[in-house]
Amino acid sequence: MTVPELHQQIHVDPDRCLGCFACASACPEQRITWDDREGNRRFRAPAVCAGDCTRCRDACPADAVRLEPMGETAGRSWEPLSWSLPLARCRRCREPFTTQKILALLSRTLEATVGLSAGEADWPSCCPACRRDLESRRLLDAARWNR
């Protein structure tokens, strides 16, 4: 078995991962993939990566990716990485649209920036399409006075 030029091993901390797809978008080889299925967002990544690219690590907003230089190949795991995060479903259409973790972070951010406590507004728990629908109905409702 020939040993390829292995440069770094990829570690992902699933507890830190928010479930965004910055790493997947960042990878020039598109070797990090994700899909939403059965209520979860599942990520897959190789255990090792050739080259000295650090884009996935740099892109990660949550510092969940760690790259370790590989000297010895012995004792290393070659198993591809896989982790998943529960998806949040839209309150209205029940379609999943982001991860629960992202939604929780959004909720905390809104609380901190504009004092909007969880459940106070209807849109954060809705998918973008439903947000558009809600907003357009609100505006139409206002507009009926002008018609």
Partner: protein, 164 residues
């Protein structure tokens, strides 16, 4: 809190209310200093030419207000105790939804306190600045408005020589 009502037939278009409103919402509260403030203090009352007569327009503090409905962060809310549509700048994200939603055009973008300028019925003042400023008493508080209207109605009735 008493609302501000308008006896529009009395308006002479002097815009004193607009000036008084800006001064009341300036940092200094004084006309001569307020004109130097930048950005300029905003007005929340508008004198417009409507149906060939000038008239002041101001927020009606709607019970079921489109602006409140359109606000995604509840920065605008109907205050049960005061009966006013209250604006909380800290909660505002400046999305301009209320500006688009207000059917009366009474909310305008602003850059001083928060992101919109909307009548707050002069917080901390006994009588709103515009009511105090109006030289023809076009702008009156609700109770005065009703009193005046009643008296007018009685006078008209008596003058018609046809009392009930």
């Amino acid at each position: 809190m008493e609302r501000i009502l308008v006896r529009w037939e009395r308006c002479v278009g002097c815009r004193s209310c607009e000036l008084a409103c800006r001064v009341a919402h300036s940092a200094s509260g004084d006309l001569f200093s307020a004109v130097l403030e930048r950005p300029a203090p905003s007005r929340r009352i508008y004198v417009e030419q409507a149906d060939k007569t000038p008239s002041p327009f101001l927020c009606r503090q709607c019970e079921d207000a489109p602006c409140v409905r359109s606000c995604p962060t509840r920065a605008l809310a109907h205050d049960e105790t005061t009966g006013l549509v209250a604006y909380e700048p800290a909660r505002c994200i400046g999305c301009h939804g209320c500006v688009m939603a207000c059917p009366f055009g009474m909310i305008q973008p602003d850059v001083r306190e928060g992101f919109i300028a909307k009548c707050d019925r002069c917080k901390g003042r006994d009588r709103p600045a515009c009511v105090e400023a109006c030289p023809t008493h076009t702008l009156v508080l609700e109770k005065d408005f009703l009193d005046l209207r009643r008296k007018e109605a009685v006078r008209n009735l008596v003058q018609s020589g046809n009392p009930v």
